[in-house]
């Protein structure tokens, strides 16, 4: 039995095998999952045993990254899973020498503001990034765009 404690949660980069489970998790968290593609997104997953309980991803566009798909299963709140995933993504962004990260959110602008993200106008995001599926079609126009220096 793996008890619900932070020490039983492990973080690792996802492989293509994980994408089906990641898609299910995003679906249950009401986040877009139709455009998942192991060629396009670098996912990190949080895992207890073989159960994926959280995920987050970046899509790389030149020197910039689109941060997306941050999701944590409802049963595993208050274990700082999203914070850990976010710091893994930022570490990965540093390794990839990205200069800026961008995201779209409809539900959590306050959360990201506290983490040092700044709200920007959607049009000011890098052009290549605005052509991404998430920007162009998946996220509604009302979504708030935010940015953070890596």
């Amino acid at each position: 039995m793996l008890f619900i404690t932070p020490s039983n949660i492990h973080y690792r980069p996802a492989t293509s095998v994980d994408f089906e489970k990641i898609g299910q998790l995003l679906h249950s968290c009401r986040l877009p999952n139709h455009d998942l593609n192991p060629q396009l997104q670098y996912f990190f997953v949080a895992e207890m045993g073989n159960t994926i309980i959280g995920c987050a991803a970046i899509e790389v566009y030149g020197n910039d990254g689109l941060f997306r798909s941050l999701a944590v299963s409802d049963a595993f709140r208050n274990l700082k899973v999203s914070e850990k995933l976010l710091s893994h993504i930022i570490q990965l962004s540093k390794e990839k020498e990205l200069s800026g990260l961008y995201l779209l959110t409809t539900t959590a602008p306050e959360y990201f503001r506290k983490k040092g993200w700044v709200q920007i106008e959607r049009d000011t995001a890098p052009h290549a990034l605005t052509l991404s599926t998430e920007f162009a079609s998946v996220c509604p126009a009302s979504a708030i765009c935010m940015s953070k220096q890596v």
């Binding site: 039995m1 793996l2 619900i4 489970k21 207890m48 073989n50 299963s73 409802d74 049963a75």
Partner: protein
């Protein structure tokens, strides 16, 4: 309008149909087919069996089974709850769970427990909403269709029964 009633043998064919639907999702149970009424009847407590119906159509059910024959665990029971696929998202689970908890407490049950596939987010959410806590995950506890599956264990301790 949703109506919650006690389950009787008459409702078994509809209860079994909804059970089979749940089995087919591969996210509800390791069971591969609904049992016969007699077997199910023997395995479940008689005092906490409910059906939910809308305009006379059975759209969900809930029941409890004892976890142990030992007297010390007489007030501990395992939850089963199933909702007709076509009637998901209509708060039927909420209403069934409400009444199930009330009935369990009026029958002296102090602990309800549930084993849920972690992928079954809707069921976990329903349980957590009604006061269940996730204790942990039994990692790769059983095999289904050649895949090892894990089960999340949830528990709800009553604040009104077994508090002496």
């Amino acid at each position: 309008m949703i109506e919650i009633k006690c389950m009787t043998e008459d409702s078994w064919s509809e209860v079994a149909r909804i059970y089979e639907e749940g089995i087919a999702t591969k996210n509800a149970t390791f069971q591969t087919e609904a049992p016969l009424w007699n077997d199910w009847d023997k395995a479940h407590r008689k005092d906490c069996r409910l059906i939910a119906s809308i305009d006379g159509k059975i759209v969900g059910w809930a029941a409890l089974s004892a976890v142990s024959a030992r007297p010390v665990y007489a007030g501990v029971a395992e939850v089963s709850i199933y909702i007709d696929q076509e009637f998901r998202g209509k708060k039927i689970g909420d209403q069934l769970m409400n009444i199930l908890i009330q009935k369990s407490e009026s029958n002296g049950i102090w602990t309800l427990q549930s084993g849920i596939f972690p992928e079954n987010e809707a069921s976990i959410r329903l349980h957590v909403k009604h006061g269940f806590k996730v204790l942990g995950i039994k990692d790769r506890i059983g095999k289904m269709d050649n895949n090892w599956r894990s089960v999340a264990l949830l528990e709800r301790r009553s604040n009104s029964i077994g508090i002496d």
